[in-house]
């Protein structure tokens, strides 16, 4: 399964992954638009899904589910990034998402236990003690997304000086995601 996901199915898997990431971004960008442009109060600005299904947002399950899908996706699809540059950027995204996921795990735990950290009125993550939630999660999503998309770009168009990630056999990129592979005969 893992071999297929990082071999012949890597391109399809990445496409599905990107669709999930973009759908999640659509929600966050809509929420930002509701607050910054429309002037909605922060508790009422829940994006589109939260507008119709507010319980999904307040239960933290949607947030945690997405954080988990992201973490698993970044981990599972990492072996397919066999170049130096694409592997490096993907690993940065994975590292940041790991911490982001811990933050959401804390929020989910507080909701499930019915006990918030330090008696706060709402579930609160660690960095949220200093940074308001909307801006904090815009930050987390941005700093995970940027290295992720740069990794995908380098995976599709390997840079000139690229080598092979440690432990990988040197040679031409074999993943069907690499654009030049579609133009040349199979090796």
């Amino acid at each position: 399964m893992l071999e297929r996901l990082n071999g012949p199915q890597h391109e399809t898997a990445l496409r599905v992954f990107v669709l999930i990431v973009l759908a999640h971004w659509a929600e966050h960008l809509l929420q930002a638009f509701q607050i910054y442009a429309l002037g909605w109060p922060v508790p009422s600005a829940r994006g589109a899904v939260g507008y119709f299904f507010p319980a999904l947002i307040s239960s933290e399950i949607l947030h945690y589910g997405y954080a988990l899908v992201m973490l698993v996706g970044l981990w599972v699809l990492r072996p397919g990034f066999t170049g130096v540059e694409d592997r490096r950027w993907w690993t940065i995204a994975l590292g940041i998402q790991f911490f982001h996921h811990i933050e959401h795990l804390l929020l989910q735990g507080q909701y499930l236990l019915g006990q918030n950290l330090f008696g706060r009125p709402v579930p609160t993550s660690l960095v949220q003690f200093w940074v308001p939630r909307v801006e904090l999660h815009l930050f987390y999503n941005t700093v995970v997304f940027i290295p992720m998309v740069v990794a995908m770009y380098f995976h599709m168009f390997p840079p000139e000086e690229t080598g092979k990630a440690p432990g990988k056999t040197p040679g031409k990129a074999t993943c069907s995601c690499a654009w030049h592979r579609r133009l040349s005969p199979a090796v």
Binding site: P132, E135, F139, F145, F157, L183
Partner: protein, 73 residues
């Protein structure tokens, strides 16, 4: 320059243009939040928000530089 190579360059530029537009949207949202925070949040919260939103903008710039400075194989 071969037709294949020209085609690759076109697709490559199209892909990084699409990525760039999305990153610019993210930078725009972060900048809007930066302005909004100054007038809608308490001083300490506003400062904290502006720190992370500035980091978003910087991350966006780093991403743009990474994809536009790289030379293809």
């Amino acid at each position: 320059m071969t037709t294949d190579h020209r085609g690759t360059m076109d697709v490559r530029n199209l892909v990084r243009l699409a990525i760039s537009v999305f990153i610019l949207v993210l930078i725009g949202v972060a900048a809007s939040g930066w302005i909004w925070a100054g007038s809608h949040q308490a001083a300490a919260q506003s400062t904290a928000s502006r720190v992370v939103l500035t980091a978003c903008i910087l991350a966006g710039i780093v991403g743009l530089m990474a994809i536009w400075r790289a030379r293809p194989k």
